[in-house]
Symmetry: C2
């Protein structure tokens, strides 16, 4: 199925490239964005490979020094492979996304000539969706392919291929590689995109009073590059990771159940190891059908087509999961002696999908201008920027309540139905249709970029209208996707932590809240998301600050720039953002990588378990809060721009712009990066678990 | 010792009242503030008494229905008594504080005539410190007196006076009463003070362009009332609670150790029950000496006198604690069979004091304009309000790291030295000198109010200068005090949670991180501080919004107001703030009170333990973040007002004012209220523990 998915990628990529890339100016802009994105990825990947090499060597050394732990060069290879597969997915997705932008704009232009707004929308949507789906299907196709290959090869690497626990010690490495790549892609991409965005807006819109995406603004290309590296490549790496981890967490728990059954002499429930692959495979089928549904029916009503496509993917996946469970499933007994029914994996899958959707819809409720919270926020913006920000933060804080209660219930239910295996499988249920979710999400920035190109190439204003329309449709589905990402991250992390507890062979009583080491771990873990976020915030504002200085300098020093007679030095702005992002991502990355082993070696495995749970608890809240605060302030601004409470240019609008600018790094840098902090720390602990037993 | 403390209160109160209250206008303003504060307290106490009566009845019913649990009218009476004692302390403190304000202004005026600035400072400081110390010594005197009385009477109430566990079930009620009062005092006071402050500033300073505390601004009296109800009465009730809880948590744990010793036939370590009272008593001695030190040496250098007074109090308390331990202490064995040395209580006391100070100093580092973070924040304000707020939030997030690591280490050390008894005792170590800490903290708002009166009564500008000077000295010590409050709250809450675990007789393995109910509890608990803060934020912005409307209305409708020919309707503004505060505090209060029993009854005691720890972890971070973000943005604004980066009136200053306004509810409403949420939920669980065994 993963090869079918990759076949679809090739077909869609050809579809995109075959389209008309537009006039020379459009191609020029598009290739500037392409080059900027490529240059950034190159530097990012260089830094990641340094980390990969160091960690590779360290894990290999462990294998030499303590060969009996099962950790060694095999895990190191799987680790490197995970990082490489994720990087390839990101590279493919971004290469096509940065080619789809001018083609989407051009499709909107020619479509509009042929069939008016309707025609423009139809044609443009086709290109943008294909572009997004290349990212989506690359992520799920490559992630699953890698998983299958690694797991298959572990059978050849260990002495006894039926020693599934040892096989998982190697396979876990693959997830860790994906996670490391995701961390740098998300934090680096997030810093890049928001540093450039804030820099471009603060000087361009606020100081110089020129419109968004104005070609005279030197930071506009960097801003467009940012959309690609943050919202396309960053998002892809994030979901690549979650997807792999949800597969691997369920398999790691399954492996320990199988081992337990073997030691007690009972029949080994090997199907528990097959079911996660089965669910992933049928999720791929669902995603492919979902993408084709959108491409087929998206022309008449894009909004409903995107939503329906997501539903189609989910429903197909659920139905086929029932088939998988019916064919492979059976009842089993876990390591604590509890027995579960044959259909339990199916039901937890449903719980995962439903709770993921509920969390998504709640995000939508708190961040969309269709509902009360954002309307009220826009209204309160009349009292000035301070009240706007205060209220925006309050909306984000409010929005944590229902998702967390839903997640807690979903965790309780999945646990009751199928133990910790069920918790991990619920995460996989959410993530099985990752291909579709990423397709829909990556479509947004392509439409956004197309709008930027239309503006810069001074195309007919109708084109911009069409791309804006596509962009706003994407925002709704993106909000739901973000909710999905956060919910599934929490689930996947919990699955990883349980796998860690099982792998490190920690006794129940040792990870009790009465153990003061656990408490210390919880406290320090709870603090990390804040410290990590602070570093990201700083990195964004430093990058924005440097960008502001540079744009101001260019406006002052390049004669004729403001009059549109001279061209800005866009490349320099891109390189400033790149540097800011690379510098900014290193410290947070080091924190995420180093803290788990440090705590594990000094305070022991129970404290490390506490650390992971502390980071999960505190990070989940901070993540939801950050994402929804930012989303609400963004959409309140857009709502005002639609003409409410004074509209564009009013004092209310100015207040809302301040809110939006505060919200931007919250929702696009801090929020998504925290997800990865949680998951990366958990997967590192899982990989290193043999060291702490 | 508590009676000696109350004797000092009488002496200091007389000292304040005997001073010259100034001219007629000053007395008029002071009595308006007095009346407003009294009216608010009256309504607040009315609402609290409704809650008290309902809870009183419920606990009494439990006693009738399940008489064997030990819960009943006795606990209910102790509970009501705790709330009443805290209310009395708040009332006394505020009555004197609202009388000390005009007298401080007058002292500054007459002192300045006699001896210039030096003379003014000297005289004014004497009055302000006496006023603050009335609050400080009332809090510690009444809190300790109540504790002693309740504990003594429990000896008469239970069948067997040597059944200390049953006696503690009653005594715990006293802490819960103090906690309930604190919740409403902090959240109600916090909403009142920030609603009024934001309302006054946004219309007065920003829209109408009149200075702070201008008599034409109708909201100024409400603002001054707010300083008293929030920063004097609210703070007093907060530390009243922490103080009582640290005593009671250590005693509850001690009682279970004594019970365990009795059942195993070993000698009962009764001294563990005496030591907390001993430490509290010597803390009182330290506080009294500290206050007198400030009154004696404060004249020449107020800043160093306040700091030195705090040190004197701490050092005296530590030395006398050594004496207490030497006389009463002995080695003992806890319920888990671990044996601790005689001097352990002394060392954990030292750990508590030292870690409290470190946490305080870190707060100071991140929030004072003497250090890099605030200077940098002020510098970055040059890029506009959005960057100011973003950076301000980042400073707050950064500031969580060291305090949390220090707390984690302090918890580990105290636990290693003396088990959970040691953790509770470390909290008491921090809080033994509560009398001094509150004195220093309550002094600030008095100086602040005196400045307001000087402005409104149009006194000589020198007077305002002197009061500003006193106020800014107070800010430093207040920042340290806030750090203390947060650190001690975390410690006290952890002590309460351990007491709860012991009282609910929960097995180690049941509160393990492998128990999914514990995980669900942790998740929901982690969410509560956000939800709670959102409600408080909303309440503040609603109150501010109504205040803005009212001030705008008065400026428009009262002829001659802006020209200074007519008087504003200040009483109406006070009543708007009162109403906003009362309405706003009810929902958060209900959440804090209802969630623990709901979770305890539905998901069981282990989930409840998870809930408490989840709230502690997430709330501690959010609390430190909120307090320090707000503090940093406040002081960055002040730093700019001192003439840096353009000074008052510049664009940088305007950006900093937005930051300060966002920071205000963070630092004065949300931050301190979360402490109480954590503690109240823990103490409710402790009181209800017999229901969950």
């Amino acid at each position: 199925m993963s090869l079918v998915g990759l076949g679809v990628v090739v077909w869609l990529a050809k579809d995109v490239i075959s389209r008309d890339p537009g006039n020379e100016r459009m191609q020029e802009i598009s290739s500037m964005v392409q080059e900027g994105a490529r240059a950034f990825l190159k530097r990012e990947y260089t830094w990641v490979s340094i980390f990969v090499v160091v960690i590779f060597i360290l894990i290999s050394i462990v294998g030499v020094v303590k060969p009996d732990l099962g950790l060694g060069w095999q895990t190191a290879v799987a680790f490197a492979f995970g990082a490489i597969m994720s990087a390839i997915a990101g590279y493919i997705g971004m290469s096509i996304a940065t080619r789809a932008n001018c083609r989407t704009a051009q499709a909107a232009a020619t479509g509009h000539k042929e069939g008016g707004k309707e025609g423009g929308l139809k044609k443009a949507l086709g290109v943008a969706v294909s572009g997004g789906a290349v990212m989506g299907m690359s992520v799920s196709g490559l992630a699953l392919l890698g998983c299958v290959v690694v797991y298959y090869l572990t059978g050849k690497m260990v002495a006894n291929p039926e020693d599934y626990v040892s096989r998982m010690i190697i396979t876990n490495g693959y997830a860790m590689g994906a996670s490391l790549m995701a961390l740098f892609a998300r934090s680096g991409g997030g810093i890049f995109t928001k540093g450039a965005d804030m820099g471009a807006d603060l000087v361009g819109k606020v100081e110089a009073g020129i419109p968004e995406d104005d070609p005279r603004n030197p930071a506009v290309i960097a801003d467009n590059v940012g959309d690609n590296v943050g919202d396309v490549a960053g998002l892809g790496a994030d979901l690549f990771e979650s997807y792999v981890e949800s597969v691997i967490a369920s398999m790691a728990i399954a492996a320990s159940i199988v081992l337990y059954a073997t030691t007690t002499g009972a029949e080994a429930p090997l199907f528990l190891l097959s079911i996660p692959f089965g669910i992933a495979a049928v999720g791929m089928v669902g995603s492919i059908l979902g993408v084709f549904y959108v491409k087929k029916f998206g022309s008449s009503n894009p909004q409903s087509a995107l939503m329906m496509g997501t539903y189609v993917a989910g429903i197909v996946a659920i139905i086929l999961t029932a088939v998988i469970v019916a064919v492979y499933g059976n009842s089993w007994t876990n390591t604590m002696g509890q027995t579960y029914t044959k259909w339990a994996p199916f039901w937890v899958n449903v719980i995962g999908v439903v709770s993921g959707m509920v969390v998504g819809f709640i995000s939508e409720y708190y961040t969309s201008s269709k509902f009360k919270p954002v309307k009220k926020l826009a209204e309160n913006s009349q009292s000035g920027p301070a009240i706007t920000v205060t209220d925006g933060l309050a909306v984000g804080m409010d929005s944590t309540a229902i998702p967390v209660i839903v997640l807690a219930l979903a965790i309780l239910l999945s646990y009751w139905l199928a133990g910790f295996y069920g918790v991990a499988l619920a995460a996989l249920g959410m993530l099985a249709t990752t291909g579709m979710v990423v397709s829909v999400d990556a479509y947004g920035p392509i439409a956004d970029n197309a709008g930027g190109i239309a503006e810069m190439a001074e195309l007919d204003p109708h084109v911009r209208e069409i791309t804006d329309n596509l962009d706003s449709v994407g925002n709704t589905t993106a909000a739901i996707g973000k909710g999905f990402a956060i919910g599934s991250a929490a689930f996947a992390a919990l699955g990883l932590v349980s796998a860690f507890l099982v792998s490190a062979k920690i006794d129940e009583a040792h990870v009790s809240l009465i153990n003061v080491n656990v408490i210390a771990g919880l406290l320090i873990g709870g603090m990390l998301p804040y410290f990590f976020s602070a570093k990201l915030f700083r990195a964004v504002s430093n990058a924005a600050y440097k960008m502001i200085e540079e744009v101001r300098r260019q406006f002052k020093e390049i004669p004729g720039l403001m009059e549109g007679k001279a061209k800005p030095d866009s490349a320099r702005c891109v390189s400033i953002s790149t540097q800011g992002a690379i510098q900014g991502m290193l410290l947070p990355g080091l924190i995420a990588i180093l803290v788990p082993p440090v705590i594990g070696f000094t305070l022991g495995a129970p404290a490390l378990a506490g650390l992971l749970i502390g980071t999960l608890i505190s990070g989940l809240m901070l993540g939801i809060f950050a994402a929804n605060s930012g989303g609400a302030m963004d959409n309140a601004k857009k709502y005002i721009e639609e003409g409410h409470f004074g509209g564009k240019g009013s004092a209310t609008h100015k207040a809302a712009v301040v809110g939006d600018t505060v919200g931007d790094p919250l929702k696009d840098t801090v929020g998504p990066s925290i997800n990865i902090l949680i998951k990366l720390m958990a997967v590192i602990s899982l990989v290193l678990a043999p060291l702490f037993t």
